[in-house]
Symmetry: C3
Subunit: 353 residues, 3 copies
């Protein structure tokens, strides 16, 4: 896991590094041709996704019996991870924590936004370097845009780097959410994601999951996308441009019911009113974009319904009992996909597959 | 651990289910003739109590040596439990946590009353279902009456139920406290609880431990009970009725000193002023119901003094040094009894005994 | 680990015990000639320090490979420790936690200043006794002077004592910080601490680390000390008296730059303004006592720079890249030294060396 001196010596200053396009930055967060720090959905190409999905599938299979579970939890019994969540998160936090436990990784937790050292005037950079002193990996969520990336960048300058996995950074990046979303498609479609029609519904402007998912569709062939949203919360232009460049057909519509019929997957999202600047969410009627019991009759028998959760009213609770509602499985997929990612970064994924 | 489809398909609505008598509800929280979700003291019948006590006794014996401790902590090394305590609790929380560690169960903790998802508008039901996604058991305390039971009920409707153990629910149910209280009697009386005079002292009106303990006395033969309390905090009528129906003789008295002489066990409690509606606790002189150093000369040589802790002034600290003061042992018994319960629910109790 | 009845029976009252000189109290916190409770830097004599350093060195060596790490984490797999930090502390807490994980000790955490039982009117003494019920060791930090010591004293009166390790008590004692500071000297000087010139810089009046470190210098031969501080924050008279009594030469100076040239180790500290009574820190110009990039040219090639961290501006960040800046290694040394101490107290240090 030691990064070579050569790499660190050619590293540019942070101020020059940060604004570069992600594609240029990815090599710096890689080692020996593998992802070392997981920071961007863009790091997840089709080969890596397939490898992680197979690892995750195998993990859940092997751990169904105690012998297998004990084998798996012995693979990384010498490793310790820090979960540093400066922003609260039940779901992401708990799924990473239990992913670590599955692999036998010992865990330390910082779940508070304020640590005592910040009180004592320490810089965030020193705080994170401190955490790294005691562990072999840091899994972190941070509200400051770019801070998770900066941590990885800083670590890679030191003589004792540890890999960083982003559990959500600012408004944009949440790569393991993207990972689990595509993993859920993979499992729902029996491993064949190509040639599907994906419908994304809701607050597409401010939801980072739909943005990442759109991006990752370039890894698959003959996909088509439909974006269903109130006109105030349409998908942003940068993603639409991206789709055009990659020849991925898409349509934008407010006709929720009409688009359901041909959907292979429906990705529901809640309104992201925590990003409101002046209560704009309250002015929007979100109810035309709810999935209700009555909509179940309109969708294909093979169609699946996803949601990153938590939900409010976007999906009626009675829908949960339909076998096509896979969002609870999707949540659990997150744990397995994250376990696969950790195994991969520590280089024991081959021992699982 | 998969519940059969038959069971779930006949399940009534929650609103109809909840008001039923506990005795009618118990089967729903059982599986293959064993308790699956531990929610009510009423689930603990004499056979189960004896089985759990023997398991607990054996656990402490076996774990005295490292070989035995390692054997025991390998029994459930493939299991993960969530401790979800929406109300703070040092004692119950820590004893469950360490019980899990004794058995090798990996643990996740939610100790806050507020989770981030509640902030995001998620229902409590969705929150708990999320927790269940990542683990094999949920141990929970919740202030809302019936919510722990509702969680178990909800879980049992899903395709992936996990057992629920109550760590205290609302004002009424705290079954593992009852379990450890009777376990302490069992150990204090060398396994022979029958034919004893139990004296309960203090705020009997609002203390759920004395209520549960009274209830469980029906499992034993020829018991007699004395209730010693200020007149404002007498034992409630429903328990007295229960005792009458089961022919368990009892007396109510304010004569603390008089009743001590014939006691086989004295169960002390603190005033439950957190349940005050208008400062009524302050108007009561609680000091006549304190156990003091001088009372030690009045009790039998074989009598034991219990207290669910925490205490305030009900028991003088100097009493702690008397061998008949067993409340510190009682506290530790809680850890062993809870470990026995978890082992039982996961079906490995036989491997311990 | 059972303390003999003889010991406890001769124990004086706390009020008489507490004011005694530490040297008189040390035997009470020992067992079979070994430290049992680690409370005072004064318990760390040269023999014990050397033994702990060798254990720590061996621990890091052995755990570099998975086989060794698994061996070490099996040594105390039957033990459980409670980390009770009534004052927040990221660094000390995390290094103890991960030290425990290295040794396979299971951990429970109380990181809040308020526990629910305190809310319910429990005394701090009862609270700590409760914690001890569930575990085999308590590692604790507490703001109340003497409370950590009192806990150890109380435990040793009970029939089931557990060892107490102080993670910082009041303003004075933080023995494991002293341990890791001297361990860092030991490693920096290849095991030969004798005959060195140690320069301590900053707020010497209120920093407990420089006080403890000064004290421990009596364990080594031909040491000399320089104290560099603003005149408002000079080293206190009791330490200077101690040095005189033990014939350890020292000088006090404000000439930071002048004293650097002959330093073998420079111990930097931040201003301790959390101990301000009336904003006195703001009136002091602390900047003459900063170590800057330009100072690196003034120090010996073999000189090392320490800092207990967290830092503010006392050391310029660019200094971190110099190999003589050992404060990040010092931080990590804390984890290994604490692991060695825990192994020693549980009596498995011999199995590591």
């Amino acid at each position: 896991m030691q990064r070579t001196q050569e790499m660190t010596s050619v590293q540019p200053d942070w101020e020059k590094f940060y604004p570069r396009p992600i594609s240029e930055k990815i090599p710096f967060f890689s080692k020996d041709g593998r992802v070392y720090d997981c920071l961007f959905a863009q790091q997840l190409n089709r080969d890596l996704l397939t490898l992680l999905f197979r690892t995750a599938d195998r993990l859940r299979e092997v751990t169904q019996h105690k012998d297998g579970a004990d084998y798996v939890s012995g693979l990384l019994s010498d490793k310790r991870a820090m979960l540093y969540f400066a922003q609260p998160s039940t779901r992401t936090f708990m799924s990473f924590l239990n992913a670590a436990h599955i692999l036998g990784v010992k865990t330390s937790e910082i779940r508070d936004s304020s640590t005592s050292s910040e009180v004592k005037g320490e810089t965030p950079e020193d705080t994170v370097r401190t955490f790294s002193s005691y562990v072999d990996m840091i899994i972190m969520r941070h509200p400051t845009p770019g801070f998770v990336e900066k941590t990885a960048w800083l670590m890679n300058r030191t003589g004792r780097p540890v890999p960083i996995i982003s559990g959500g950074s600012g408004k944009d990046q949440h790569p393991t959410q993207a990972l689990l979303d595509v993993y859920t498609l993979y499992r729902s479609f029996n491993g064949d994601i190509d040639n599907k029609h994906i419908v994304m519904v809701g607050d597409l402007k401010r939801g980072r999951t739909v943005r990442s998912l759109s991006y990752l569709m370039k890894n698959y062939n003959k996909m088509s996308l439909s974006f269903v949203s109130p006109k105030e919360f349409k998908m942003e232009a940068d993603i639409l441009d991206f789709l055009k460049r990659h020849n991925i057909p898409y349509q934008e519509t407010e006709d929720f019911k009409g688009v359901l019929k041909t959907a292979d997957a429906i990705y529901m999202t809640r309104i992201q009113d925590e990003h409101d600047k002046a209560g704009e969410s309250k002015k929007v009627d979100y109810s035309p974009f709810y999935f209700r019991q009555e909509n179940l009759k309109d969708i294909k028998k093979t169609c699946v319904i996803l949601h990153p959760l938590p939900r409010r009213h976007e999906i009626e609770v009675s829908v949960d009992d339909d076998p096509r509602a896979v969002f609870w499985r999707q949540e659990r997929n997150g744990m397995w996909a994250r376990a696969a990612l950790m195994a991969y970064i520590f280089g024991v994924d081959g021992k699982i597959r």
